[in-house]
Structure formats: structure tokens, C-alpha cells
């Protein structure tokens, strides 16, 4: 069942944020139920956070396969449908087909990669939950997703770690 509450603690230094993450782990909050929000990419593991795994590298291969298939259908299909010999070239001129196939293969790979980036980033998700605009000014947000009965405990842990402000959504 999805968590119904989102609790955010706001910190002014990375150290304070890391302490809050440690506090949540010690209090028994499961990995994946709390996360760190920053306005800057910090080195991986700077907050002792769970390092996410992704499958982005599969996407370009899938896109490339779709692209090359469409390219072969386009080049072979159109030339066979209107088989006029021009410039003494064969109807299915491999060199010309390769150029279009190359472009459409790359196009498929790029589009699929971008779809993969958005999908793997868990976007779009227009409901931000508990959030504060100061996160993009250098503050560190520690957000906990929990049920009603755990809200007070989460607030307590975040407060103990020195949160400047706590928000619930």
C-alpha cells in the first residue's frame, strides 16, 4: 500500500542532512521510504543514501532495433513499390539504404534513451509531496514517506537531527 504522508525536514548543511538520514535508518525506517532532495548533484553516497539502480542502458538498444526496422521497411518498401532504375543503380542500393538505416537507428536510440531517462527518473510526477523552494537555494531536504502512525516518529527523528523546518503533506 502506498504511503499516505510525506514529511520533509529542511537542513542548511550536508552534514546535518546526512545525520538525519542516519537517524531515520537507526529508527527503523525502511530503505526506499526516505530520500534526500538537493538543488545540486552531490557525490554519490554523500548522505549515506540508498544508491539507486537503473536499467537505462537497455533503452537505446531497444530504440535502435525499432529504428533500423523502420529504416529497412522505408528504404526497401518504397524502392520495391516504385522500381525505377536511376543512374544505373540497383533497385535495392545497399549503400543508400545504409545511410538512411544509420540515421533512423541512431534516432530510435536517442528517442528511446530520453524516454528511458524520464521513465527511470520516475517522471513525470507533478505531485511534489512535501517540498520547499529553498532546496534549490542550497538547503538539503530529507523527505520521509510514511503512514499516519509513523508521522510523529519521523518528525521527531528529523527534529533531533536539527531540522530548521519540518513540513508535512
Amino acid at each position: 500500500m502506498a504511503a499516505s504522508n510525506s514529511v520533509l525536514g529542511l537542513y542548511d548543511t550536508p552534514d546535518a542532512g546526512a545525520n538525519a538520514m542516519d537517524g531515520l535508518k537507526s529508527a527503523g525506517f525502511a530503505l526506499g521510504t526516505f530520500d534526500v532532495l538537493t538543488g545540486t548533484p552531490y557525490p554519490e553516497g554523500a548522505f549515506g543514501e540508498h544508491v539507486p539502480q537503473h536499467r537505462l542502458f537497455r533503452f537505446p538498444f531497444f530504440g535502435a532495433m525499432v529504428g533500423i526496422t523502420l529504416a529497412i521497411l522505408f528504404t526497401a518498401g518504397t524502392q520495391l513499390a516504385y522500381p525505377v532504375v536511376t543512374g544505373g543503380k540497383p533497385i535495392l542500393a545497399v549503400f543508400a539504404m545504409l545511410i538512411i538505416a544509420y540515421e533512423l537507428t541512431m534516432l530510435g536510440a536517442v528517442i528511446a534513451t530520453v524516454v528511458g531517462i524520464i521513465f527511470e527518473s520516475r517522471l513525470p510526477n507533478l505531485n511534489l509531496g512535501a517540498y520547499d523552494a529553498r532546496i534549490t537555494e542550497g538547503y538539503i531536504g530529507i523527505v520521509v514517506e510514511c503512514e499516519d502512525d509513523k508521522v510523529e516518529e519521523a518528525r521527531g527523528v528529523l527534529q533531533t537531527a536539527g531540522a530548521l523546518e519540518i513540513k508535512t503533506a
Partner: protein, 459 residues
């Protein structure tokens, strides 16, 4: 990185979003002025569609003139973005940070502009759809995939789509910053545009991987695009001076030369207009100038190879064409201007550190390069066609018409207007990259000096 400034995130947001959250006084009059030129250009296009291509200077046997020259020129400029952005990202060059977005943006808008020229050159642009899309099932007529004129739309379409997506993905974190600093309809717009970006470790990790993966995918496309544009000429056996195997790398390197120069021009303008002295620093111009010296020398090598293989064969038509290009009026004057502006003046100047660190000098030398590179394309296309070919029994000289000059002017105004419109709604320097640089850079004391050091993650 001796010129690095230590800035906090509030200051970075404030300075880099200056043009987005408030409107500078010069912005509206400049955009309106450019809009007048743009509308004038569209009027010229309308006149040409109405009257036909006879209003241009195109005539037998010169059927490709200023429009195709300008098409190749803008495709060349577009090579700046991916060259700078992708290669510098892949090599994790620290000085890339303020440069990447401007370069990617230049790619997108110059490609968009380049696309116009073959369309209007066709005289009846709507007929181009017959060439490239297989939709005429009723008559059973389909595109000829063996024609280089069909390869072009695929190459440019792929490059434009890929570059636009590349630009958008790198914009996501900055759209989140804009969402947090705006209210009302702007807030709603940025909320949707940022797709709900929050900045958690998963999103940052994907953003980093995306930069590298998309760079690796875009680089082969970047090489293929100008190669395919060069094959529009090189696979034509009947025009002396075009049918050359060296054309693909020659065009690619020439495109990088003009494109990187255009990035230098754009960065100087950005620094002057928005006062981003803390972000676009002389060290960035210095690095770009060093890169340009290498690229310009490679380009000179290809220019020489193209020329020497042409004349060394001792074929009379080829020698006659080269003689015409270099020694006959008015081509000789254009050739001298081309060589001086594309290489002989700027490159020796860039050897001096004082020039490389002087932004005004870099601005003017980069402009010179692009004057030269436009002339280079003109000198490849027009003289080759101007000579009498077999089976051509009537011919005339090519005089560029005022309408064609007007559309050349339109293209510059169009690109500048698009840039300024973009600058109103989106940051031109990536905020998150600038902030990341602050996090990952620290001063270390070595002996008696403090040196900035960049921390890099092992991956």
C-alpha cells in the same frame, strides 16, 4: 581554473536567472527590431513563392546559389553544440560548464534555420513532402532513397530531434529551479515543463548518466550529418571540384571550425548583455581559442588536400576550375578574403595569450572566421557550377539578387530572435552545472600557493 569565483547557490540563482525573472530594458526593443527583419524575410519568401524562382539570381547552369550556401553554413554552425557539449562532457572537462547550453542551443536554432533554405530553394516547398515521405499511395510514387537529396532530411531530422531532446533533458533541473522562483501561470508552466523534478539521488544519477550516454549517441550523428550534406556535392560526378572523396571529413572539420567560432561569438555577447563576468571568464575564451587553433589547422590540412588532389591529376577541367576560383575576377577577391578571414588573420592572433584572454578580440576574430567559412561554401558551390558542363548549351553568370541577400539577413535575425526569446524563458547557463562545479571544486594549499582542485568521483 585560476579565475574561479566562490559563489553560493542563492547568488547563482539570482545572477543566472536575471533575464528570466525580470526583463532587461534592452530586451524588448531588440526583439521587436529583430522581429521586423524576420517579418520582412517572410514577406520576401512570400514574394518568391508567388513570383517563382525567377526573382533570384539563379540561372543556367548555376542552380544552386546563395540559398544552398547558407544552408551549408547554418548546418556547419550547428556542429558547435554537439562538438563542444558532447566531447567536453565525455572528457569531463571542467571548463565546459558555462559553455554547454549556449552551444546546444546554437545547434538547435541554426539547424532549424538551415532547414528553411532547401525548402525555399525548392520554390514550391510543399512539394518536398513528395520527395521524402511515402504517402502518395494513390499514384504509387514513392521517395527515391538512392538520392542524396533524400538522405539529407533524414540526417538533419535525426540531428535536430536528438539535439532538441539533449537540450531538454539537461534543462530539467533548471526548470525545477525556475518553478520554485515563480508564481501564477509561470509556476504552472515550469511545473509541467520540469515534469515534477525534485532533485533526489535517483534523478541526479540519471542526469549524469544521461549526459554521457546522449553525448556518446549524438557524436556519431554529428559526424554523419555534415558528411551527408557534403555528399550532396561529392556524389555528383558531373561537377568539377565537387566529386571528391575528401569532402566528408573536410566538411565536418570546417563545420566544427565555424561552429566553435560561433559559440565564442555567442558567449562574448552573453557576457556583455547579462553581465555574467563571474561565469563566462577569459579562461573559457582561452580554452576555446586553443581548441580553435587545432581545429583550424586540421581544416587547413583538408583544404590543402582537396586542392592538391584536384590539381595534381593535371586534368584540364579541374585545373581550369581551380584557376577560376583563385585567379579570375571576382572569385580571386572572394578567395583572398576567404583565406584571410577563415585562417590567416585569426589563427596567428590566437597564438598570443593576450588575444585569447581578450574577449573583444575573440569576438571579432570569431566573426571573421564565419565570414570566411560562409565564403568557403560559396566558393565551393558557385564556381563549380559556373563552368560550362557537357550538355549545357546556354549559360549565364550568377548574380546574387537583393531578395537572396534579404533572406541571408533574415536568417541571422531569425536565429538571434529565437535565442533572445529562449533567454527570456530558460536559463542560458546551466545552473546545476555551475552549482556542481562549486561543490566539486576546492582550494588546496601546495607550498605557498592555493590551487583550485577538482574532485572527481570514481565511476
Amino acid at each position: 581554473m585560476q579565475q574561479r569565483r566562490i559563489l553560493d547557490e542563492v547568488a547563482i540563482n539570482h545572477e543566472l536567472l536575471r533575464g528570466n525573472l525580470a526583463t532587461p530594458k534592452w530586451w524588448l526593443p531588440t526583439v521587436l527590431g529583430l522581429l521586423v527583419v524576420v517579418l520582412f524575410g517572410f514577406t520576401l519568401m512570400g514574394i518568391m513563392f508567388n513570383k517563382g524562382l525567377g526573382v533570384t539570381g539563379l540561372n543556367r547552369p548555376v542552380y544552386w546559389g546563395l540559398f544552398i550556401t547558407t544552408f551549408v553554413f547554418w548546418v556547419g554552425i550547428s556542429h558547435a553544440g554537439i562538438m563542444i557539449s558532447a566531447i567536453l562532457r565525455l572528457t569531463q572537462a571542467e571548463w565546459r560548464r558555462p559553455v554547454t547550453r549556449a552551444a546546444e542551443l546554437l545547434t538547435v536554432f541554426s539547424l532549424l534555420t538551415a532547414l528553411f533554405f532547401p525548402l525555399i530553394h525548392a520554390g514550391r516547398p510543399w512539394r518536398i513532402f513528395y520527395w521524402i515521405t511515402p504517402f502518395d499511395f494513390a499514384r504509387g510514387i514513392f521517395p527515391n532513397a538512392r538520392s542524396p537529396l533524400v538522405w539529407d532530411p533524414f540526417a538533419i531530422g535525426t540531428y535536430l530531434t536528438g539535439s532538441t531532446l539533449f537540450l531538454y533533458v539537461a534543462l530539467l533541473p533548471d526548470l525545477g529551479v525556475l518553478r520554485d522562483r515563480t508564481t501564477g501561470w509561470k509556476h504552472s508552466f515550469y511545473t509541467v515543463a520540469s515534469l515534477g523534478w525534485r532533485g533526489n539521488p535517483r534523478q541526479w544519477r540519471l542526469q549524469t548518466v544521461a549526459g554521457i550516454l546522449l553525448s556518446a549517441l549524438m557524436l556519431p550523428i554529428f559526424v554523419s550529418v555534415h558528411s551527408i550534406v557534403s555528399w550532396d556535392f561529392a556524389v555528383t560526378p558531373s561537377v568539377e571540384g565537387w566529386h571528391s572523396t575528401v569532402f566528408a571529413p573536410y566538411f565536418v572539420v570546417g563545420a566544427v571550425h565555424s561552429g566553435v567560432s560561433a559559440v565564442v561569438t555567442m558567449m562574448a555577447v552573453m557576457r556583455w548583455l547579462w553581465g555574467w563576468d563571474n561565469y563566462i571568464r577569459p579562461e573559457h575564451f582561452d580554452a576555446l581559442a586553443r581548441l580553435l587553433i587545432v581545429v583550424a589547422c586540421a581544416w587547413l590540412g583538408f583544404t590543402f588536400a582537396e586542392l592538391i588532389f584536384g590539381v595534381y591529376s593535371l586534368e584540364a577541367p579541374e585545373r581550369a576550375l581551380r584557376e577560376m576560383q583563385m585567379f579570375q575576377w571576382p572569385w580571386n577577391l572572394l578567395f583572398i578574403i576567404f583565406f584571410l578571414t577563415a585562417f590567416a588573420i585569426p589563427v596567428p592572433l590566437w597564438f598570443f595569450k593576450r588575444v585569447r584572454n581578450n574577449i573583444a578580440m575573440m569576438f571579432w576574430t570569431s566573426i571573421l572566421v564565419n565570414i570566411g567559412m560562409w565564403l568557403e561554401r560559396f566558393l565551393i558551390i558557385v564556381p563549380g557550377l559556373s563552368r560550362k558542363q557537357p550538355f549545357v548549351f546556354t549559360w549565364d553568370s550568377y548574380q546574387v539578387s537583393p531578395l537572396e541577400w534579404g533572406l541571408l539577413l533574415w536568417s541571422f535575425a531569425w536565429v538571434m530572435m529565437l535565442m533572445l526569446l529562449f533567454s527570456k524563458f530558460f536559463p542560458l547557463i546551466p545552473l546545476f552545472e555551475t552549482k556542481e562545479s562549486q561543490v566539486f571544486t576546492t582550494d588546496v594549499k601546495i607550498g605557498r600557493v592555493n590551487m583550485p582542485a577538482v574532485i572527481r568521483e570514481l565511476d
